[in-house]
């Protein structure tokens, strides 16, 4: 159980991945450019972190075409939602212990 929590923390303690998860947890979907604007990142940097989150099955994609241009919509998965709220709960618990 403890190692599971540590694994979650490893994914989320990075500030960019934390930002992506925060934004996706309050938006149904966001496309690549919207995330890029919000997080103020370069294409490559954002893509790397999105891939990591996809690999952990925290983020899923839906590809579509808008005006014949490919557009990828990102959204949070059920597992992503669960582990992210677990992570927030763990953080809050930790903070309370420190007080």
């Amino acid at each position: 159980m403890k190692s599971q929590l540590q694994k979650i923390q490893k994914v989320f303690e990075n500030r960019i991945r934390l930002g992506i998860m925060s934004a996706l947890s309050v938006n149904e979907t966001l496309d690549f450019n919207a995330l890029k604007e919000l997080l103020e990142l370069t294409d490559g940097n954002l893509a790397t972190h999105l891939k990591t989150l996809q690999k952990h099955k925290y983020v899923e994609t839906k590809k579509q075409f808008i005006d014949n241009k490919p557009n990828t919509q990102y959204s949070i998965t059920l597992l992503g939602k669960k582990d992210f709220s677990d992570h927030i709960a763990a953080l809050e618990k930790l903070l309370q212990q420190l007080k």
Binding site: F12, E13, N14, R15, I16, L18, G19, S22, A23, S25, V26, N27, L30, A34, E37, L38, L39, I88, L91, E92, L94, L95, L98
Partner: protein, 207 residues
């Protein structure tokens, strides 16, 4: 800057990103103040220059020697000017804070704001065509209030109370139709100036 954050800063970063990705926070109080002044000027012109002062719901304005299209043009220019100022000044605020002027949050807020407003505009126009001229002032307050209430989920929460005030004034104006223009001037004029000043002092002055 390190990519790894201590717990307290993680929590802070999460809340900031949640807010930044859903709400457009750069609306302009200055635009509110200016829109208020424009609204008071417009109602003054309507009453004093165009002799527009409906005292019942059906109002044969043309029969009183006035041209009712004057009032329509006046209303539309007031709307376009105030809305335009709101857009331009909000964009400027956003640029000043280093965020893009036309972000997904701005788009979403505008969609939520514009839908009730356009519906209201059409309702007022249809009533007007059927001779129910005096519905214009109360209904514009009511639909504007609903639009603000709707948009308040995607911008500063303070806007919610502005929406409720306009909604209330609209209902009062609907009942006391003979005073509806005066109440309109209070709602779009005075309330905008006071609220604009509040937003300006609270969020803009120090930036």
């Amino acid at each position: 800057m390190s990519n790894h954050l201590p717990p307290d800063q993680q929590i802070k970063a999460i809340h900031e990103m949640m807010e930044r990705s859903t709400r457009f926070l750069h609306i302009s109080g200055m635009a509110g103040i200016l829109a208020g002044i424009i609204a008071i000027a417009a109602s003054w012109i309507a009453i004093n220059s165009f002799a527009f002062q409906p005292d019942r719901y059906t109002y044969h304005y043309t029969a009183m020697g006035g041209n009712q299209w004057n009032i329509v043009y006046l209303g539309l220019s007031t709307l376009v000017l105030s809305f335009g100022l709101g857009l331009v000044l909000a964009r400027r605020n956003a640029y000043k804070k280093g965020s893009p002027g036309w972000s997904p949050t701005a788009r979403r807020m505008l969609t939520y704001f514009a839908t009730p407003l356009l519906t209201g505009g059409l309702v007022i126009f249809l009533f007007w065509l059927k001779g129910f001229v005096a519905f214009a002032a109360p209904l514009s307050l009511i639909f504007y209030g609903l639009a603000l209430l709707h948009a308040s989920h995607f911008t500063l929460t303070d806007i919610r109370y502005l929406g409720l005030i306009e909604l209330f004034l609209g209902l009062v104006a609907l009942y006391w139709i003979q005073h509806s223009l005066l109440i309109w001037a209070v709602g779009f004029g005075m309330v905008h100036i006071v609220y604009g000043l509040y937003i300006y002092l609270r969020y803009e002055r120090n930036s």
